[in-house]
């Protein structure tokens, strides 16, 4: 790992090595050739030993993907070369259930990310994605006892084929968009969660993702099913090594919130600055169910991500809280979508973005109220903070209302770190850098206070890293 440790992320304006930019000498046991065709997909299915329906599903998705034109809206994808990407890398032969069985060099990677202590102490289970394959997956006995399934999606396909087949691709069909089609064709890993009726999972379930092979796309596929009256909080956090050439991350996350259930999905992402992060996340919320997305985006070259909630039946509720931090050479095109498909449904979107050193952040939102969906409420708040004159922030809100009896509010604010705020804090002894960092941490406080503690600490540290050496 010595070589890549010398990488610096000048793009961040940080005068030190990218902290998580190390690279372990894990030898992939199988790596597909660059580029994608039906042969690569068939090879992948053979190695994974997948059922025929999944093979057909993948091949069909691949045909859809080939027909889709390159996405033109959102960010600039012109540098993305689909032929220059590895679509499948397998890091070890099977998923591990116990920490002792995890190879030492992989443990080392997780050590540097500070995972083991935290998870052993208070997390219920861990699915950590290492390259394309989940190598460590520990489910504590209590989860087993109460019937909660928490597996990597490949294993779930083997152990719970009917459950996977019933829901896979029902929330986000392959034809939904170009990158959903690509993911459907080449997906690997991700988490599968099933919570039985009435079961409340007390601890957050969490997964840690990393891209480890240069030029390797990571296409994890996550499917969460919360049965009636159940409750679960899923947390994913991402760090990635730094590389010189482009890298693609394109995940699909599908969530089913059945009657009266409550699901929260928390993401903190800190991709290296060469990663295209193009993710489709969607939840269906049925009667009186509540879906919450908490989404923090740092790093990457381009992020396009708009977590959405379809409120399918009366009483459903969707909350989306997102924060984007765009620094030099980065474009965060983030936002949220809510579809009020039934009467008396409620949504709340809170979007906060920070742009610095020429970074660009965009809010792209969609609020839709179907005809006949009476008594719906939606509240949208967009706050943008621009740290210097080279940086940029845009909002692209769309509101489609097919019903008069609704209450929709949209507020947007753009602000700069005021000279008065800086002067005030500096007059109390804080340096300009400390003062700016404090103002930004205050700005993102509404998100940070929703995070599990170790993520909150990490988030504040990441902001601090982003701000170091960038002022003055």
């Amino acid at each position: 790992m010595a070589n890549s440790e010398t990488n610096t992320i000048e793009e961040l304006g940080i005068n030190k090595e990218y902290e998580y930019g190390f690279h372990d000498d894990v030898k992939p046991t199988f790596k597909s050739r660059k580029g994608l065709d039906e042969e690569v997909i068939n090879q992948m299915c053979d190695i994974k030993g997948e059922p025929d329906w999944m093979r057909e599903y993948r091949l069909n998705a691949y045909r859809i993907f080939k027909q889709k034109p390159m996405t033109k809206w959102g960010g600039d994808l012109s540098q993305l070369d689909f032929d220059d990407i590895y679509y499948y890398v397998k890091a070890s032969d099977r998923s591990e259930r116990s920490w002792d069985d995890v190879p030492d060099d992989i443990k080392k990677t997780f050590d540097r990310l500070g995972i083991p202590e935290a998870e052993r102490k208070f997390l219920a289970g861990v699915g950590a994605q290492y390259d394309s394959e989940v190598v460590y997956h520990n489910i504590v006995e209590e989860l087993d006892k109460i019937g909660v399934v928490f597996l990597d999606t490949d294993t779930a396909l083997k152990e719970h084929p009917d459950l996977v087949k019933k829901y896979f691709g029902t929330i986000i069909p392959s034809a939904d968009n170009q990158f959903a089609a690509l993911n459907s064709a080449v997906w690997s890993g991700g988490s599968f969660v099933y919570v039985p009726p009435g079961v409340k999972v007390e601890y957050p379930l969490q997964a840690y993702f990393r891209i480890n092979s240069e030029n390797m796309g990571q296409f994890e596929r996550t499917l969460i099913i919360a049965d009636e009256g159940s409750q679960v909080h899923y947390v994913e956090g991402c760090t990635a090594p730094t590389y010189s050439s482009e890298s693609l991350h394109s995940a699909v996350v599908e969530i089913v919130c059945m009657k009266g259930s409550r699901v929260r999905y928390t993401t903190i992402q800190n991709w290296a600055n060469n990663v295209y992060n193009l993710v489709t996340k969607r939840a269906f919320a049925y009667e009186d169910a509540q879906m919450e997305w908490v989404d923090g985006n740092l790093g990457s070259k381009l992020t396009m991500k708009y977590p959405s909630v379809y409120m399918m039946e009366p009483g459903a509720r969707g909350d989306i809280l997102s924060i984007a931090f765009a620094s030099k050479g980065q474009h965060q095109d983030a936002g949220a979508k809510v579809y009020h498909c039934a009467p008396h449904t409620t949504s709340q979107i809170t979007s906060k973005s920070i742009s610095k050193d020429g970074g660009r952040s965009s809010y792209r939102g969609w609020v839709d109220v179907a005809k006949g969906a009476k008594g719906c409420k939606s509240h949208v708040v967009c706050d943008a903070l621009i740290l210097d004159k080279d940086s940029r922030s845009d909002t692209y809100p769309v509101i489609e209302i097919g019903e008069n009896d609704t209450n929709i509010e949209h507020e947007a604010r753009v602000s700069k770190i005021g000279e008065e705020q800086l002067f005030y804090l500096m007059s109390r002894g804080l340096s300009e850098e400390e003062a700016s960092t404090m103002i930004i941490n205050g700005f993102i406080e509404p998100l940070v206070k929703e995070l599990p503690m170790e993520y909150a600490v990490e988030m504040n540290r990441l902001i601090q890293l982003q701000m170091e050496g960038s002022v003055g």
């Binding site: 002067f423 005030y424 007059s427 109390r428 002894g429 941490n441």
Partner: protein, 261 residues
């Protein structure tokens, strides 16, 4: 070392308009000075200029504090030397609790030897909490104040009390109070005035900048100066403040030939 604030022939302009025009004043540690003047005389310009606000340009003159010319220093360096400004209009910092902010500020202005800080450079949490609770109690400030976001949604009186709490915690040698009484009703002025008077002692020099003498009922200055059109036109004792209370600024304006701004 001398803990005096010495201002010599100071000229300050705002957007190229001269506001302070040759001001001389010395405030020693332990002394209380009142600088009184009508609106537009340059009171707030002086306060902001002394603290180093980037929009206030010092054209010439010297400001010596603790033996150092501070005019080239950043505001935080001035604070570390022991200078404090209680703002007329404190700015809100949403999402940052008063306690978190104060812990960082206190750690910044105290040297490592005196605050016993750990490797992170911060004053230990327990010690900080104890001190904060003590000072809040002394100033009659409710505990819940510490958890509120700094000046965010504070009433006028709460903002001024938060300024005085910061003054108490940062323990400067010289404090400038910029129109701390403005916008407050009589009861609030009494509360703030009594709070400040508790902090007064031989370690603290105070420059009270004010339009009305009312705050001075609670903090009796030894020296009173009258600012007109950017310069101090008269200096004296308490009798000067009493004269202003009785007659207003007009006789002084007339005497010095200054037209009302």
């Amino acid at each position: 070392m001398s803990r005096d604030l010495v201002i010599k022939d100071l000229h300050i302009s705002v957007q190229e308009k001269p506001i302070i025009k040759g001001l001389n004043l010395t405030v020693k540690q332990g002394e209380i000075h009142a600088l009184m003047g009508p609106n537009g005389s340059g009171k707030s310009t002086l306060a902001n200029g002394l603290m180093g606000h980037p929009l206030y340009d010092v054209d010439s003159g010297e400001v010596i504090f603790n033996g150092t010319d501070i005019l080239e220093l950043e505001p935080n360096e001035r604070a570390k030397l022991g200078l404090f400004l209680a703002f007329q209009y404190p700015t809100a910092i949403p999402g940052v609790s008063l306690a978190n902010f104060l812990r960082l500020a206190v750690s910044a202005v105290r040297t490592k030897e005196t605050n016993g800080s750990g490797d992170d450079g911060l004053i230990p949490m327990r010690e900080f909490r104890r001190e904060l609770r003590e000072k809040m109690k002394q100033l009659g400030i409710d505990d819940s104040f510490a958890r509120r976001y700094l000046n965010d949604g504070f009433s006028g009186g709460e903002k001024k009390r938060a300024e005085i709490l910061q003054l108490a915690m940062l323990e400067p040698q010289i404090a400038i109070l910029d129109e701390t009484d403005s916008g407050l009703d009589i009861d609030a002025i009494r509360v703030v005035g009594e709070s400040v008077s508790q902090l007064i002692g031989p370690e603290l020099g105070v420059l009270i900048i004010t339009h009305y003498p009312r705050l001075l009922d609670y903090i009796r200055p030894q020296f009173v100066h009258i600012l007109l059109d950017g310069t101090i036109v008269e200096s004296g004792g308490w009798e000067l403040a009493q004269m202003l209370e009785a007659e207003g600024y007009d006789p002084i304006r007339e005497k010095h030939g200054v037209v009302e701004a």
